[in-house]
Structure formats: structure tokens, C-alpha cells
């Protein structure tokens, strides 16, 4: 047992810190901290900065030009980025599609798509969920019918995150309606400029246009855009879901969030004393900090097992459930901490840079509280994760 990082790991952390100190512009980290949207260009610029350093595709193997960091390095990087309020890496191309293409894609697909993920020519979105297929993803109905050298796609995807920025979408489509549910699904790459595709925004409850509906009406997709074999898409989809899970607990985000709440609680006053000294608030804060301290170690325990080659199984479900509960609790504390100034709807804070209403930290917190209810819904809801944990661990 040794709770310390190795010297190499410590040196790596210093390197990441130095990089962020030098390359992360303050106006960008200020926006991330304040919950202000970066827009498409903002994300692209940060991706380019990381790519220049060779740190954008850090989870890719060396043969595909990746840094091939181990799980501990990834964790350190993700934690430092969160603490420094760096923009999130948009995951759809880099940590979802990339690994699938590397494992199951053709050489032609790898050569064409992987460089474009890195240089930003392609912005990918994820077309899995449908109105009728959420938790029960395998019941998806979007059809792809072979017609010569093309598939003709008809149907609808929904909840497509940042689809308004995307020019490519990877989709699960039904190619064999007669087969058992999971066995008739294929994995298709679709250029969103193809005729017949319509993207309609969905505004979320905090006012952000974060997700979309995507409609397919006789969309012709070249057969060479099929990944792997026809009707094997479910295997690839599962690989995608289980592959990139080191950051699922979001420990870095929680730590950054907790620091932010502490800063607020030192400034806000209740009964003439800092809120941080209020016994009720302090107790709430302490409880979540205690949970987070243990979570950080749980996370590292699971990560070091993964680093030693043991694939995380139900553990990643555990990290997802507890990690999201902690993040949501921290959002709740931030909302509480700002008192009446949680009430204004800071549309300016989302869209531009007008003067804040009340203290500058107050603008985004209530919106973030509502927006992050998504954490326990998407990526396999917490109910689905609990089902997995119980099923696997109960044995029987």
C-alpha cells in the first residue's frame, strides 16, 4: 500500500500544470468556470492547442499517433484540466469513435477519419438514442436498407449532443429487422451534409440548446461507411461504451466544483458571518468532501487495477453512480450558497459577457444544478447501472 504518486507521476503532473499555465488563456478558463458556452470555435481552438502538444489523443495507442498514456497519467491530466477550468475535450470523435475505428474500422476508414478527428476537420456526434429507445437502446428502429453501393437510412435520433456543430454522425441503425434485437444492428458513419438529414435543436431546461433531434429521410450512405461487419454494430457499440471510462467518476470536476463552493462560502454571509462558518452549511460541505475523498481513492484503486491490465467491469458502474451523485450534490450546494441571487436567469452569462447580476459567481449555479441532472440520466442511467451492479455481484 502506498498512497503516494511515484516520482514520475509527480513530474508528469508538474508538466501538465506548466502546460496549462502557459497555454490555457485566462479568458477561456474564466468562461469555463462561469459556465459560459465556448461556442464551436472555442472548443476547436482548445483542441488545436492540445493537438499541437500531442495531448489531444492521449488515449490513443502509439500506432495511431497517440500518446498512449496509462490510466494514472490520464487521470492526472483530466484532474489537472478540471482544476484549471480547461474546456472539456469533446469526446465523440476522440474517445468514442476513435477507439472503435482503431479496433474495428478498415485501413481506409482509419486513414481517412482518424487524422480528421485530430485536425478538427470533422466534428462528430453520437446517434444512438431514439425517442423510443433510451435505456433500451437495442430496441432502436432507424432503418438502413441496402440499395446497390448505398444504405438508405430512414428514422430519427434524439438527444444528439452538440449535433448543431457536427458535420459527421456515427449511428446505430437496424439492418436486419428479422434478427433478434441486438443482432440486427449496424454501425454507420454518416456525413451530415447528405441530403435528407434535418437537425432540430432541443432547448434544455436551463435554456441551453445543447442537444438535437436528427431526422433521416431517404439518406443515402455509401457502403464503405459501414464500420466492421453488417449486423455486428451492437458489439462495437458496447466496446465504445466500456472503452473510455477512466473519467466516468468525474473526480476532477467534483474537486473543482467543491473548491468553487468553498470560495463562495467564504464570501457569502449569513447572520453576519461567512457562510462557511454556518454549522448547517459547513456540515453539508463536509459530508460531500468526505464522500469525495473516498471517491478519489476508490477511483484510483479501480484505475490502478485497470492500469495493471484488469478491465474494469461493474466498478465503472459504481464510479458512475457515486461520482454523479457527488457532482450533483456539489451543484446543489453551489445553488444554496448564493441565496436569492440563484433566481436570476443569467442568459447573458450563457451567451455573452454583460455585467453579471449580483456576484459574478452566482450567475451560472442554478442553471448548472438543473443542467447536471443529466449526469444520472445519460451514459446508462443510474438505475441501469445499479441493475448491472446487482446482477453481476449477486451472482446466483
Amino acid at each position: 500500500m502506498d498512497l503516494n504518486y511515484t516520482d514520475e507521476e509527480k513530474a508528469f503532473r508538474e508538466e501538465v500544470r506548466a502546460f496549462l499555465a502557459e497555454k490555457l488563456p485566462k479568458e477561456v478558463s474564466d468562461k469555463v468556470r462561469a459556465g459560459i458556452s465556448l461556442g464551436k470555435e472555442g472548443h476547436e481552438r482548445w483542441h488545436a492547442t492540445l493537438n499541437e502538444k500531442g495531448w489531444l489523443n492521449y488515449n490513443w495507442p502509439r500506432e495511431f499517433g497517440g500518446a498512449e498514456w496509462n490510466a494514472v497519467q490520464r487521470h492526472i491530466f483530466e484532474e489537472e484540466c478540471a482544476m484549471a477550468h480547461a474546456p472539456r475535450i469533446v469526446p465523440f470523435g476522440l474517445s468514442m469513435l476513435g477507439p472503435v475505428l482503431q479496433k474495428f474500422g478498415s485501413k481506409t476508414q482509419q486513414d481517412f477519419f482518424l487524422p480528421r478527428i485530430l485536425n478538427g476537420a470533422h466534428w462528430w456526434c453520437q446517434g444512438y438514442s431514439e425517442p423510443g429507445a433510451g435505456s433500451d437502446l437495442a430496441s432502436l428502429k432507424t432503418r438502413a436498407v441496402r440499395d446497390g453501393d448505398h444504405y438508405v437510412v430512414n428514422g430519427q435520433k434524439t438527444w444528439t449532443t452538440l449535433g448543431q456543430y457536427a458535420n459527421w454522425i456515427f449511428c446505430l441503425v437496424r439492418t436486419d429487422p428479422a434478427a433478434k434485437q441486438q443482432e440486427g444492428i449496424s454501425f454507420l458513419l454518416i456525413d451530415m451534409d447528405t441530403p435528407g438529414i434535418e437537425v432540430r435543436p432541443i432547448v434544455l431546461l436551463d435554456g441551453t440548446p445543447e442537444v438535437n433531434e436528427v431526422f433521416f429521410d431517404d439518406v443515402r450512405v455509401p457502403v464503405e461507411n459501414l464500420v466492421g461487419e453488417e449486423n455486428k454494430g451492437w458489439t462495437y457499440a458496447k466496446y465504445l461504451l466500456t472503452h473510455e471510462r477512466t473519467n466516468i467518476a468525474g473526480v476532477g470536476f467534483s474537486q473543482a466544483g467543491l473548491d468553487a463552493v468553498k470560495r463562495i462560502a467564504r464570501v457569502e454571509c449569513a447572520n453576519g458571518r461567512p457562510l462557511a462558518e454556518n454549522p448547517h452549511f459547513a456540515a453539508r460541505l463536509a459530508r460531500v468532501e468526505i464522500d469525495l475523498m473516498a471517491m478519489a481513492t476508490t477511483n484510483m484503486r479501480i484505475i490502478s487495477r485497470a492500469a495493471a491490465g484488469q478491465a474494469p467491469g461493474v466498478e465503472s458502474s459504481m464510479l458512475k453512480v457515486k461520482g454523479t451523485i457527488i457532482r450533483q450534490e456539489i451543484n446543489d450546494l453551489a445553488r444554496r450558497a448564493v441565496g436569492p441571487y440563484a433566481m436570476p436567469f443569467a442568459s447573458e452569462a450563457v451567451e455573452g459577457d454583460n455585467d453579471p447580476i449580483g456576484p459574478d459567481y452566482a450567475g451560472p449555479v442554478a442553471a448548472q444544478y438543473f443542467n447536471n441532472r443529466k449526469l444520472s440520466i445519460f451514459g446508462g442511467s443510474n438505475e441501469i447501472q445499479r441493475g448491472i451492479i446487482a446482477k453481476v455481484r449477486m451472482g446466483g
Binding site: 438514442s129 423510443g132 433510451g134 435505456s135 433500451d136 430496441s139 434524439t158 438527444w159 432541443i202 432547448v203 434544455l204 431546461l205 436551463d206 435554456g207 457569502e268 454571509c269 449569513a270 447572520n271 453576519g272 454556518n278 448547517h280 452549511f281 453539508r284 450533483q328 446543489d332 445553488r335 444554496r336 441565496g339 436569492p340 441571487y341 440563484a342 433566481m343 436570476p344 436567469f345 443569467a346 442568459s347 447580476i357 449580483g358 442554478a366 442553471a367 444544478y369 438543473f370 441532472r373 443529466k374 444520472s376 440520466i377 445519460f378 442511467s381 443510474n382 438505475e383 445499479r386 441493475g387
Partner: protein
């Protein structure tokens, strides 16, 4: 003990429920939310014509109600429909202060309030006061027979629509003293009064208010000089009943929407309501809802008694806790659909959670409850 509503209140409840179900649909309300006035003047007037405002005032003040259970009956229905129109601000906070303190020249304004022609707003909270009711830094100084106000007021709900703002200001004492706070009825067009208005996350509008050498005649004072805190607490007592009841109504809607959704949404070939993991949590919400209803009844029934503040603190604490549970659980059990702005539950959940930010969250009321119990 008798837990049935009187015939009059039952009628009021039926009328409001029917009107709001017909008229205040999700799409009408979403239209109001998307607009820039914060509420619908038409619906305001129609509800006033139905007697909603009158029900919140006693007969001596020109209404036909005004008791705790009248307030609870009205606001539960407003909450059930997710109404964003500022009845709390105009009728309860503004109206009750005017009724309690108005001089013969000020009091006739009540008639216009009850008729739905005049809006009011309470400008009490300040940028640094949070939920502390006695922390008033805005000053009122006597000068050449006038009163001059200076200071800033925070998150003043309904300030832009109000014809008059009721402004608290300190005439004597230190920042936290209960004595020395006076109330003033300030015309919205007073020189030196400026507003920075904005929408609120859960609907409606508020403003940051700046008072810069606002000069008023002494007759603008509401009640006695330096004795505003007691009447303010009386008005807030009614506001707590209203907020608790409104949140209860919203919780009822959230749970009902979830009941319907659990029965109709299918995943894995069956209604999601057949999953026991969701059934038990649905049951827990129903239990909490009964508790919340009892807390509202306790608070409403003690509005005119010596135990008012303790009962209010209990109700607001319980409803804050139960409300958060219901808001979060109903969203979770719906999945993605509840995250969309135009879905009814999204708005209802925001009403529930954001109500906690008016006049004290769960911790604030817990502290108050402890302090009042020890006294």
C-alpha cells in the same frame, strides 16, 4: 378536528382549478415565459375577476378571505398550474403591508390591487443581506420636511410592473438592528429610482433597484418610523404560507405527471412503472407529499396564532426537503424528456426548487425553527 375546506373555499378551489386547467396550458405558459413582460396581463385580470386577489384580503380590507386557508387554497392551485404571475408580490407582500399600515390616502390603492389594476413589489432584500431580514443598509434621512432614500435592493420580484414599490430603509440603528427600519410607499416613477430588470430561471421577472437621493414626502411612510420590522414579519408570515402551498401544488403536478409517464413510457417491452426500482421511489414521493400537505395545513392554521413563525419555519423546512426530493426524482424517473425546456415537468421542477430561494432555504428555516423552539 375537521380537514375539509369550507364551501366557499371549495368553490374557489374548483373555479381556479378549472380556469387554470383550461386557460393556463403548457403552451400558453411557455409563451409567457418566452415573452419579455414576465407575465400575462390578460390572465392577471381574468384571475382577479374570478376573485383570486379578493380571496387574499379580509372583508375589512375589501376582500372576502385573507385567512391562512384562503392563502393556501389559492396558492396551491397556482403552484399546481405552474403560474408565474406575481400574486405573491402584489397581493401578499405588497397588499398585506398596504392593508396593515396604509394611511387614509394610501389605503384606497388596495381597491385597485384587488381589482387587478395595480401591481406592487416589496423592495427589502439587499445585495449583501441574503436571507437576513434585519440587515438593511439602505438609508432614509429627513431633510427639509422630506425623506431622502439611498441604497440598493436586490432581486426585487415584479419591480418593473409595480406602480409602487414598498421600500425598507433604515432611519436609525445599526445594520442588523430590528428597530429603526421604516417602510415607504415609493411611486415607481420617482426621480432617482432606477431598475435593472431581468428574467428569472423559473419564470417571472425581477430587478436590481437603485435608490439615489429619492425624495419623498413624509406621508409616503408606511406605518410608524423605525417600526417596520414587525409588520414586515407579519406579511412574510403570510408569504411563507403562500410559498409552501404553491410548492405543494407544484409537487402534486410533478408526481402526477410522473405517474402518467410511468404507466405510458415503455422500455424493455413494458411500462417503466412495472420496475420495482421505480415503484418504491414513487411510493416514497407519495408519502412525502402527504407530509408536505400536513405541513401546509399546520402553517395555514397557525397564521393568526402566537406559534406562527415556528409553524412556518417547520413547513418551509419540510417542503424544501420534500420538494427537492420530488423535483429531482421526478426528473430522474422521466429520463431525458424531463430535461427539455418545453416539457411541463421541467418548468414545474424549477418552480419547486427555486421557491427555496425566496425568504430562506431549508437550512435557514431549520435554524429559525431551532431558535424559536428554544425561546
Amino acid at each position: 378536528m375537521d380537514f375539509t375546506l369550507t364551501e366557499e373555499r371549495q368553490m374557489l378551489q374548483d373555479t381556479l382549478r378549472r380556469y387554470l386547467a383550461d386557460r393556463y396550458t403548457t403552451s400558453v405558459r411557455n409563451g409567457i415565459l418566452a415573452g419579455d413582460t414576465g407575465f400575462s396581463p390578460d390572465i392577471w385580470r381574468e384571475l382577479a375577476e374570478l376573485g383570486l386577489v379578493g380571496a387574499l384580503f379580509s372583508e375589512t380590507d375589501g376582500g372576502f378571505g385573507g385567512a391562512g386557508f384562503d392563502i393556501a387554497t389559492v396558492f396551491e392551485e397556482l403552484g399546481r398550474a405552474g403560474v408565474v404571475e406575481p400574486f405573491l408580490d402584489t397581493a401578499i407582500l405588497g397588499g398585506r403591508l398596504l392593508a396593515a399600515l396604509g394611511n387614509p390616502e394610501q389605503k384606497p390603492l388596495l381597491e385597485r390591487v384587488i381589482a387587478g389594476d395595480l401591481h406592487l413589489a416589496l423592495a427589502h432584500g439587499e445585495p449583501a443581506s441574503r436571507y437576513d431580514l434585519s440587515r438593511v443598509e439602505t438609508t432614509a434621512r429627513a431633510e427639509a420636511g422630506d425623506i431622502v432614500l439611498n441604497g440598493r435592493k436586490a432581486v426585487v420580484v415584479n419591480a418593473e410592473a409595480a406602480g409602487f414599490l414598498i421600500v425598507s430603509a433604515r432611519e436609525s440603528g445599526g445594520f442588523f438592528d430590528l428597530d429603526g427600519i421604516s417602510l415607504f410607499l415609493v411611486p415607481a416613477d420617482s426621480a432617482g429610482l432606477s431598475l435593472r430588470g431581468y428574467p428569472m430561471l423559473a419564470g417571472g421577472r425581477a430587478a436590481e433597484v437603485t435608490l439615489d437621493e429619492v425624495r419623498l414626502p413624509v406621508s409616503a411612510r408606511l406605518g410608524e418610523a423605525g417600526k417596520g420590522f414587525g409588520p414586515l414579519m407579519d406579511a412574510l408570515g403570510a408569504a411563507h404560507v403562500a410559498l409552501a402551498a404553491e410548492t405543494l401544488g407544484a409537487m402534486e403536478t410533478a408526481v402526477e405527471l410522473t405517474r402518467q409517464y410511468l404507466l405510458t413510457r415503455h422500455q424493455f417491452g413494458r411500462p417503466i412503472g412495472t420496475f420495482q426500482a421505480l415503484q418504491h421511489r414513487f411510493a416514497d414521493m407519495l408519502i412525502e407529499l402527504e407530509q408536505a400537505r400536513s405541513a401546509v395545513i399546520n402553517a395555514a392554521g397557525h397564521l393568526e396564532t402566537a406559534d406562527r413563525d415556528r409553524q412556518n419555519a417547520a413547513a418551509r423546512n419540510l417542503i424544501s426537503r420534500a420538494g427537492r426530493l420530488v423535483a429531482e426524482e421526478t426528473i430522474q424517473m422521466h429520463g431525458g424528456i424531463a430535461m427539455t425546456q418545453e416539457y411541463e415537468l421541467a418548468h414545474i421542477a424549477k418552480r419547486i426548487v427555486m421557491a427555496e430561494h425566496r425568504f430562506g432555504d431549508a437550512d435557514y428555516h431549520l435554524e429559525r425553527f431551532i431558535a424559536l423552539g428554544a425561546a
